[in-house]
Symmetry: C2
Subunit: 377 residues, 2 copies
């Protein structure tokens, strides 16, 4: 194998596939990046147990300044090789691999020779032999990820809850996640496919995918039995799917409420951030919300026996229904509030012990955050 | 105690004294900031075993919007109190302390009550009862610190080497540090004092001081038996001095050389950074420099049996003297090269086993970095 390439283009693609590579893997060849050169260009591959990323650098794109003199393939240790490429002196570089798996990297007056591994020992990527694909706007898919992935469980005791559940049917895409203390659900109208889909993608895969999608990029999705493939730009992103049945979450969302407040998400967020300074110093991380509809006032209080107390008064846009005192983990509510950006929201409570919901005041059924309160008496 | 203050001014001063406070201290009261209010303003104090910082916020500076209603003092847990002040909603805040050492912090609709400690239990700062003071340009003092502190030892086995040795006499200030593998020395002409001074300041204190001095700020220094005080702006910075005799370093610097090269510091730095990617993967972190005066060429090589080899050719500005092969720890030379910025330097070697020096080509006696080579045969 022998090629020369513009270093900045190579670095960008190396960074892309590096996202799938963990230095902690127990399979030595997976600490490497597989590089394959053929007539069309280079294919770079990185992989771990959960996700695999493949990206192409094409010869027919003049920005890449890619010239392939001899096709071939090799696996080079990711961290080490990427650091070398980043620090080379010239704007271009050459990579040459002989029969002995020695890779020689030259750029300007600098020459590195490093040992590679045979690409024939690199595991095969999953095969997704369906032509059925669904196309999303990358921007909307990133928004759905950011709104739901916060409620994904980080506990491996119920593995199914470490993913986001997607259901595509009847012209709608529903995404929902819950760690059993809180729930996030987003629904969008979707007309791109007549087939029904029902699958669970690990939260970690979605977070990684979300960082890679550029603004206004189109995203093609293909589903196989236990794998999903996302295609965007010159990149293929594979993730395993979680197996099993996701719990029925629809019955968790209360339909009625006895107390409702409306206010801007950032106002309540700032108050809860202050109150949680104190609750974090306490063993039980709890703040209390007191709603007084008669005086159109709400109050947030926290106390930590060792440190002190905090009291915050807020004037919401509107308050109606019954008076209520309710306690909750402020971190759950902070995560939920951040997902609304700067919008006006409605929070609906049924009682001090029942879950409460946060929704945007406008278009309230498309997006719901639900939080279970904490019993303090 | 009772006062109101502009929050941004308060935060700035709290950040200043927080630099001295370690949450790891075994003396509980030193996790706190001492706040004293009197007619002139507030005095904030933070301290650990090595350094103490005191800063004043004056009522007569209208930018502070400081109004003291009742004098007094208290000690409040630093991390916690500073976080609260940073997150308060309004541009101003009030602090009120009753007889029970409860501090009430209010701002907008937010009210915190936290427990304080009695200021009478806070340790006294060192007394420096000399009027003898020396004045420096803060910019130059920061430069001296950055050029010497790199060679300070991080090993506690010889505590004296964890400091920078300052000698002020005959119209010159000399600063020198060595960890016995390398040495950094800076000399400046100085006409501010007729007295002779000879003292050792811990490297950590100097690094902290350096971050606090603003550009173009004047720095006043007072020395007592085992303490030094730096005064700049409204801030007093105290550090303990290291006790003992600093080794005589003047005889370590070779006066003659057999091989000399001249080149721009950043060019060699970039080469050594690349070469050290490989040496860091090896058990003995060493790179080799080959100097060939006949071809006006130098070559840098590194190899790691497990990973590979690197070879870098450089064309220096000039080469003269004997041919030489010399090996060294690249990290020491990287630190030294960075201290020269973008200037042209001369590196002078006497033999493969003797220390070599790096100096600026112009004004070469004012600034020397010295590195001991590594024996590889």
């Amino acid at each position: 194998m022998k090629f020369s390439i513009k270093r900045s283009a190579f670095i960008q693609s190396l960074n892309t596939v590096s996202r799938a590579i963990s230095s902690k893997t127990t399979i030595p060849i997976l600490t490497g990046i597989k590089i394959t050169a053929d007539a069309e260009g280079l294919i770079l591959t990185g992989s771990n147990a959960d996700i695999s990323i493949e990206t192409q650098i094409k010869t027919d794109n003049p920005d890449n300044e890619l010239e392939i003199t001899e096709p071939g393939s090799i696996v080079l240790t990711a961290g080490f090789f990427v650091n070398i490429v980043k620090k080379l002196p010239d704007t271009t570089m050459q990579l040459t691999v002989g029969n002995d798996l020695q890779a020689t990297i030259t750029s300007g007056q600098s020459e590195f020779t490093i040992k590679g591994l045979s690409a024939s020992n690199y595991p095969h990527l999953p095969e997704i032999d369906t032509d059925d694909s669904v196309t999303f706007s990358g921007d909307i898919f990133k928004e759905i990820i950011s709104q739901t992935v916060i409620a994904v469980s980080t506990q491996e005791s119920r593995p199914i809850l470490t993913g986001v559940h997607f259901v595509l049917k009847d012209g709608q895409l529903l995404a929902v996640a819950t760690d059993s203390h809180r729930l996030s659900q987003r629904v969008i109208n979707f007309s791109g496919s007549d087939r029904e889909y029902n699958f669970i993608i690990p939260g970690k895969s979605l977070s990684e995918l979300s960082r890679m999608i550029e603004d206004h990029q189109e995203l093609q999705m293909r589903i196989a039995e236990n794998q999903v493939l996302f295609i965007f730009g010159d990149t293929y992103f594979y993730s395993r799917l979680l197996e099993g049945n996701y719990p029925d979450t629809s019955r968790l969302i209360p339909e009625e409420s006895n107390t409702r407040i409306q206010l801007e998400a950032p106002v309540l967020l700032a108050s809860i951030e202050r109150a949680s300074l104190l609750s974090h110093a306490s063993r039980n991380n709890v703040v209390k919300l007191t709603i007084d509809p008669n005086n159109a006032m709400i109050k947030l209080t926290g106390d930590s026996p060792d440190v002190g107390t905090v009291e915050e008064e807020l004037e919401p846009e509107s308050v109606d229904g019954d008076a209520l005192e309710i306690s909750f983990n402020p971190d759950y509510v902070k995560d939920a509030l951040r997902s609304f950006g700067k919008t006006m929201i409605q929070i609906s409570f049924s009682s001090a012990l029942r879950p409460f919901t946060l929704k945007p005041t406008e278009d309230g059924d498309s997006f719901i955050q639900l939080v279970t309160p904490v019993r303090t008496f």
